[in-house]
């Protein structure tokens, strides 16, 4: 199996610099998800790996070989496109067989390979149909199948699921993941959906504006976001960010902003604050806020008194949007207690799950 | 040249080939007008046939352009002496053509079944004519005419000027149109039509011919070339054109010859063969063959004295008629005179000018046109300056290219594939369109015309200035705009309308759609000529239908300016709407049904749906089609030229492009025509750019 390594990749379209020196490695057999907001350059990066775009600078290394100048047809890389790009004039069988015919494989071998992939994807019933006679999900499978037949070193996916409905998307997510465990190929998967990234990735590469914000396992990105951008992007519903300052009163450290006051004594490396300027951004994920009503140990020092603005019922939990002073806080709470807009609500903060970021650089402050 | 004549020529050539093994004679037939323009182009390109056979009046222009050889040095004087003087065509003291027959003159022919003896004078002609112009079945439509002929053409008209005393051209080639005789002749013809009503209201050559051949006309004025055609169909007699009663003078038909000239580009190895062939083709032997087959009056003195000729009564009569005629002038100015005369004459016939004004005007116009035709603008300082500028421009391009060569090279290497894919088409378009375009640009800055055919030079923007300061240009431009706007409006509205209609559930929808496309499929020139036939005042289906179903009196479609222009427009609308319909259909198919359903729920009426959904949705598809349609219509010469027969009446139905054609090929004003076409090009470019800007379509490119 083969790894993919990108070194200092840069790319501009005219005056627009889309990629600004990207370094990333997908190890052999790894499922790497590239995620980021729309327009950040994910597809461009993927297309550079595929050879569909030439980078302005940097190295593309696949399986240890520099491939910058290799034609896409010779890279042994397969790609699944967002809108499937099935050949409309060919039947499903021909679509699958196309790459093999180009390579002049024998008829038997082609047949064997096509049937193998078709069975794997449960599309063996559809082989005689034309793409326009297929449903979205079926087309997606055919597109996958077309890549599978190739038995490539590396699979590339460009938002393959974004045209499917939610249920189908979930199904296909599992399917692709299963494929990965079966084949154990290197797969690079582009999406802008953080759920897909979190659920599928061995490692996530989070991009924004042509640079990489953070690379790491899903847990790393969730637990130790490198900056505010990462923290907001990963995690659903998104993290609450509150501007404030850290002060010491009577030997205790506090985070204070309009409406929020939290005792930080429980945080071990409190010294870290002291050297720094005191304006910080505090991040707290909705799932780390709890209703005081249910709390076994009350902690008045770390309770925020809020007024409820809006309640979104998600079934087992409710997403409660509230505010205290200037700070907006959303929290996922159990639906055991019915909450109405306008109610007042005491939210307990789990101090150990707090994230702090520099106000200026937005970088994470290591605790 | 008649089909029969062509066959006869082929026969004598075959004979020659048989007796001269190794020699192959290639006959290329072109109609007179085309013969002229094609041979001009061919000569300019340094090629063309060795021998050119045509009417004597082409000698002047060809000689002036220097594209035919003087014959005096090629043949011994004794050669020329064997022909009657009519047949040895001289111009500026040199001999340029030798004819194989004499004639081409007009005469009165009468159907012996209807007319017992031909009229001696015009009074008699009118009397006979009146008694023979009949409405046989009393339906208000005339079924038999006393006299028919292609009276709107100057060639068929000028004999009458002579009949009224004076001649239309002076010996030095200058026009003599501002004369009482001309006025009287104008009035005379008009009175034949409007007062005495012995000739049809509209009568072109074909109509006259058909009427006479089918016995629906008692008399016709036509030339000797038509005998062969009539021989088996009508028992006809010939006579001189009847004497004009008021003056006692016989009309003077133009007598000319058809003969051979030699291309200047004839290579020396072919020259002797060419001379030999020409000697053969003009020999008594060949002429007698023609005489027997086609009744051609020989030009060879030996042939004329042959007993067979002496015994031929038709030719005898013919010889007498020829005596009343005058030789056809060969000066190039003739064309300008024809042109000026034709316009004014047609105005008189259309009733828009009185004979006196028309006579004065035609003289003035003829003089003007001769002046412009013969004008040679000497290259002055401006010419040198422009030459320098052109040189600098090319040099600048070269320098820019040199400086940027790295960038170009890189771009080439990056997109090698794209450039390779583009290359063949690029070469084709380059040679076939860009090169001619550049050539025209240069010509438009030059003094290229009749008198500078081979040694033209760059003179500058003279032609551009004269186009833009000429009032005529603006009226032509106005007409062109009307032409374009009316056509495109109809094309689009009719096309969209039909598309919307067809796009619903209808029985036989496909068949209807297919049938409606047919006007687009028909070759344009065939369609245009068919329509011209349909617009004929008396026999055209349009007037017949209007009369039958709407009880309308016949419209003079082709001889009144406004009507003729409308006829062109109608034809072109017919030709052009299917294209827009198809484009609109394509646009309609991209509109989702839901949009209509949604608007129905909102309570929109059909009309509102059309304005608020259909139109905006097909607009992006229609706009480029409209741009293309506008360009095509603006530059569509075929329809105007063919339907109005080259701008008739009086050059009032021209649009810019047809005028370009006329200026270049009829009046030899290549430089002027090229400048005019550059201006057309600029107008259309500006239109396209601004239209695209306005409809925000730059993005397309």
């Amino acid at each position: 199996m083969a790894g993919v390594s990108l070194q200092a990749i840069s790319k501009s379209f005219g005056d627009n610099t889309i990629l600004k020196g990207i370094d990333v490695q997908a190890h052999s057999g790894e499922f790497m998800v590239i995620v980021g907001p729309s327009g950040c350059g994910k597809s461009t990066l993927l297309r550079i790996i595929a050879g569909l775009e030439t980078p302005d600078g940097g190295e593309v290394i696949i399986d240890g070989e520099r491939k910058n100048d290799t034609d896409p047809s010779k890279r042994e890389v397969a790609m699944v496109f967002q809108n499937y790009a099935l050949y409309p004039t060919m039947t499903v069988y021909e679509n699958l067989a196309f790459s093999q015919r180009i390579r002049k494989r024998s008829k038997d071998e082609i047949d064997k390979r096509v049937m193998e992939s078709a069975e794997m994807l449960k599309i063996d019933e559809l082989l005689d149909r034309k793409p326009k006679e297929l449903s979205g999900g079926q087309r997606q499978r055919v597109a996958l199948g077309r890549a599978l037949v190739r038995k490539p070193k590396v699979f590339l996916f460009d938002e393959p699921l974004s045209n499917l409905d939610a249920k189908l998307r979930q199904e296909m997510r599992l399917e692709i993941k299963k494929l990965h465990t079966q084949l154990n190929n290197t797969m690079i998967y582009v999406t802008h959906d953080q759920t897909e990234a979190m659920t599928m990735a061995d490692r996530i590469c989070l991009m924004n504006n042509g640079i990489i914000e953070q690379i790491g396992t899903p847990e790393e990105l969730y637990n130790k976001p490198a900056n505010t951008f990462v923290s907001t992007f990963i995690g659903m519903p998104p993290i609450n960010l509150i501007d404030g300052e850290v002060c010491t009163e009577n030997g205790s450290a506090f985070f204070i902003s309009d409406g929020v006051r939290i005792n930080l004594d429980k945080i071990k490396n409190i010294e870290l604050f002291k050297d720094l300027d005191k304006h910080v951004i505090m991040g707290i994920r909705p799932e780390n806020l709890h209703d005081n009503y249910f709390a076994e140990i009350k902690d008045p020092e770390n309770t925020i008194k809020c007024t409820v603005d809006l309640v979104e019922n998600l079934g087992s939990v409710a997403l409660v949007h509230s505010h205290s002073g200037d700070a907006h806080l959303s929290a996922t709470l159990t639906t055991e207690k019915i909450i109405h807009p306008g109610d007042s609500l005491d939210l307990i903060v789990d101090v150990n799950s707090l994230h702090f970021f520099h106000q200026e650089t937005k970088e994470r402050i290591k605790l | 040249m008649l089909y029969e004549n062509r066959k006869a020529l082929r026969e004598v050539c075959d004979k020659y080939e048989d007796s001269h093994p190794g020699i192959n004679i290639n006959l290329i037939y072109r109609e007179t007008e085309e013969l002229r323009s094609n041979f001009q182009s061919a000569a300019l390109g340094g090629s063309g046939p060795e021998l050119i056979y045509g009417p004597s009046d082409q000698v002047g222009p060809f000689a002036v352009m220097g594209i035919i050889k003087p014959l005096d040095d090629l043949f011994p004087p004794s050669f020329f002496n064997q022909f009657s003087s009519n047949a040895v065509v001289q111009f500026q003291d040199k001999t340029w053509m030798v004819g194989d027959g004499v004639g081409n003159h007009l005469m009165l022919m009468y159907n012996k079944d209807i007319v017992s003896s031909p009229p001696e004078n015009t009074d008699e002609m009118i009397k006979i004519g009146k008694s023979l112009t009949k409405d046989l079945d009393d339906d208000g439509i005339i079924d038999q005419y006393g006299l028919v002929w292609n009276f709107t053409e100057p060639f068929f008209y000028v004999p009458w000027i002579g009949g009224f005393g004076e001649w239309f051209i002076n010996d030095d080639g200058s026009p003599n149109l501002n004369t009482k005789s001309n006025e009287n002749a104008f009035a005379f013809i008009k009175s034949l039509r409007d007062e005495h009503r012995i000739i049809p209201k509209e009568c072109d050559y074909e109509t006259a011919n058909a009427l006479f051949k089918t016995g629906r006309a008692a008399m016709i004025i036509n030339g000797d070339w038509s005998w062969g055609d009539y021989r088996d169909k009508v028992d006809f007699g010939i006579a001189a054109l009847p004497m004009v009663s008021s003056t006692g003078v016989f009309p003077t038909p133009l007598v000319s010859t058809k003969g051979y000239s030699i291309n200047v580009h004839t290579t020396s190895e072919k020259l002797s063969h060419t001379i030999d062939l020409m000697t053969y083709l003009t020999s008594p032997e060949v002429q007698l063959h023609y005489m027997r087959r086609l009744n051609v009056q020989p030009s060879s003195l030996a042939a004329l004295s042959h007993p067979d000729v002496q015994a031929n009564s038709l030719l005898k009569q013919n010889a007498a008629i020829i005596k009343k005629g005058r030789p056809m002038p060969v000066v190039p100015e003739l064309r300008a005179i024809w042109d000026a005369l034709r316009g004014e004459y047609q105005s008189v016939l259309a009733g828009t000018k009185d004979p006196h004004t028309a006579a004065v005007e035609s003289q003035r116009k003829a003089i003007d046109q001769i002046k412009t035709m013969n004008l040679v603008i000497e290259p002055g300082v401006q010419g040198k300056f422009i030459k320098g500028l052109l040189f600098l421009f090319i040099a600048a391009l070269g320098i820019i290219f040199w400086i940027k060569k790295k960038i170009y090279l890189r771009s080439f290497q990056e997109n090698k594939f794209a450039y390779l894919m583009l290359l063949p088409a690029f070469l084709g378009i380059m040679s076939v369109i860009i090169f001619p375009f550049g050539y025209n640009l240069i010509i438009s800055l030059s003094n290229f015309s009749l008198r500078t055919f081979k040694d033209w030079e760059i003179i500058g923007f003279h032609h551009f200035a004269s186009v833009l300061t000429d009032g005529g240009f603006y009226s032509l431009f106005g007409k062109t705009i009307i032409w374009t706007v009316v056509n495109v409006c109809f094309h689009v509205s009719l096309g969209v309308f039909l598309a919307v209609m067809i796009n619903r559930t209808l029985p036989a929808k496909r068949t209807l759609r297919t049938l409606l496309i047919i006007p687009w499929a028909l070759p344009q020139y065939i369609a245009a000529l068919t329509w011209r036939g349909m617009f004929n005042q008396e026999y055209g289906s349009i007037n017949l239908i209007l009369n039958k179903f709407f009880n309308m009196s016949p419209i003079q479609w082709l001889s009144q300016p406004v009507e003729a222009f409308s006829a062109c427009i109608i034809t072109n609308i017919w030709l052009g709407f299917p294209f827009m319909m198809v484009v609109a259909l394509g646009g309609l198919q991209s509109i989702p049904k839901e949009m209509y359903e949604a608007s129905q729920v909102d309570g929109a009426s059909r009309w509102q749906q059309f304005w608020n959904i259909t139109l905006p949705m097909i607009k992006p598809v229609m706009i480029p089609a409209v741009i293309l349609g506008t360009i095509w219509t603006f530059n569509n010469i075929n329809v105007v030229w063919l339907v109005s027969n080259g701008g008739e009446p009086s050059d009032l139905t021209h649009i810019l492009v047809s005028y370009v054609y006329k200026a270049a090929f009829n009046l030899y004003r290549y430089g002027y025509a090229a400048a005019l076409s550059m201006i057309i090009f600029l107008i259309l470019s500006m239109f396209t750019v601004s239209f695209m800007r306005r409809s925000k379509l730059d993005a397309v490119v």
Binding site: P72, S73, S99 | P523, A699
Partner: protein
């Protein structure tokens, strides 16, 4: 109910309109069935007692019509082939690649339509004479293919623009070179536009007269329009023959048009704007 009446109304209107539209075409058929002299007639009937197919017999048996037809087919076939090959390749380059000079090429393609074609004749002739291509089909074919080309390229480019680029990218990933992706994947998808391009190229050459008249001089080489025109001598047109010829000339184009009309609507992309 009112909907039915409306449909009936529209249908009858369309039928009437179509008949009116077809009249000129029928008219010429009518003329072709008459004798030369009966063409000036006041009868509106297409078939009269005097009508016969005589002109058609004369046309095929006594003139070189079949030779001209063969020549026309030959020329048109080659022109169509060249036109399709050139338009499909260069249209592709213009649709897919953003190379230097692309915009210039596109606008000049449009510009070529703006210059009055009549003025191109003289330079054509000079060029062909210099290249010794007078009186050869090669010269004619070069001119025909190239004059129809600008529109055809636009047309093809417009169609390619509607095909997602992912399609050939997929093909390239599957192992095709740029060219084979174009041939194997894009061309089959573009068949409606190719058909239309072929149709236009065919039409441009099939019934063209003016250029043929300056290029072809040997009667053996005449194409149909030239032959047809030779029936139409300056002062003695053989109308029956001419009309019969015109009908026969029109038939192949009309049949082509009719049989391809379903592609016309989907394949004609003058208007397609890149979205």
């Amino acid at each position: 109910m009112s909907k039915k009446i409306e449909t009936l109304f529209i249908f009858s209107f369309l039928v009437l309109f179509t008949l009116a539209t077809l009249y000129p075409a029928l008219n010429i058929i009518g003329i072709s069935l008459r004798t030369d002299d009966a063409f000036q007639t006041r009868s509106l009937a297409l078939w009269t007692a005097e009508s016969s197919f005589r002109s058609y017999f004369t046309l095929f048996l006594e003139t070189d019509f079949l030779t001209w037809m063969k020549n026309s087919f030959l020329v048109s076939f080659v022109v169509t082939l060249t036109g399709v090959v050139l338009a499909s390749t260069s249209g592709y380059a213009l649709s897919r690649f953003n190379f230097m000079g692309r915009r210039a090429v596109l606008s000049s393609l449009l510009m070529t339509q703006m210059f009055p074609a009549t003025m191109l004749l003289l330079p054509f002739f000079i060029l062909l004479a210099k290249l010794k291509l007078i009186n050869s089909y090669l010269g004619l074919i070069i001119i025909y293919s190239s004059t129809a080309l600008p529109f055809c390229i636009w047309q093809m480019k417009g169609y390619y623009d509607t095909i997602p680029a992912a399609l050939e990218e997929a093909a390239r990933m599957d192992g095709c070179s740029r060219f084979s992706a174009f041939i194997k994947v894009i061309l089959p998808v573009s068949s409606p536009a190719l058909v239309i391009t072929a149709l236009f190229s065919f039409m441009a050459s099939w019934s063209e007269y003016v250029v043929a008249a300056i290029v072809l001089q040997d009667p053996e080489l005449y194409t149909l329009p030239l032959g047809l025109k030779s029936f139409q001598a300056s002062l003695a047109t053989q109308w029956g023959l001419y009309a019969a010829g015109a009908v026969v000339v029109s038939i192949p184009v009309t049949i082509l048009f009719i049989s391809l009309s379903r592609f016309l609507v989907s394949g004609l992309t003058v208007g397609s704007v890149k979205g």
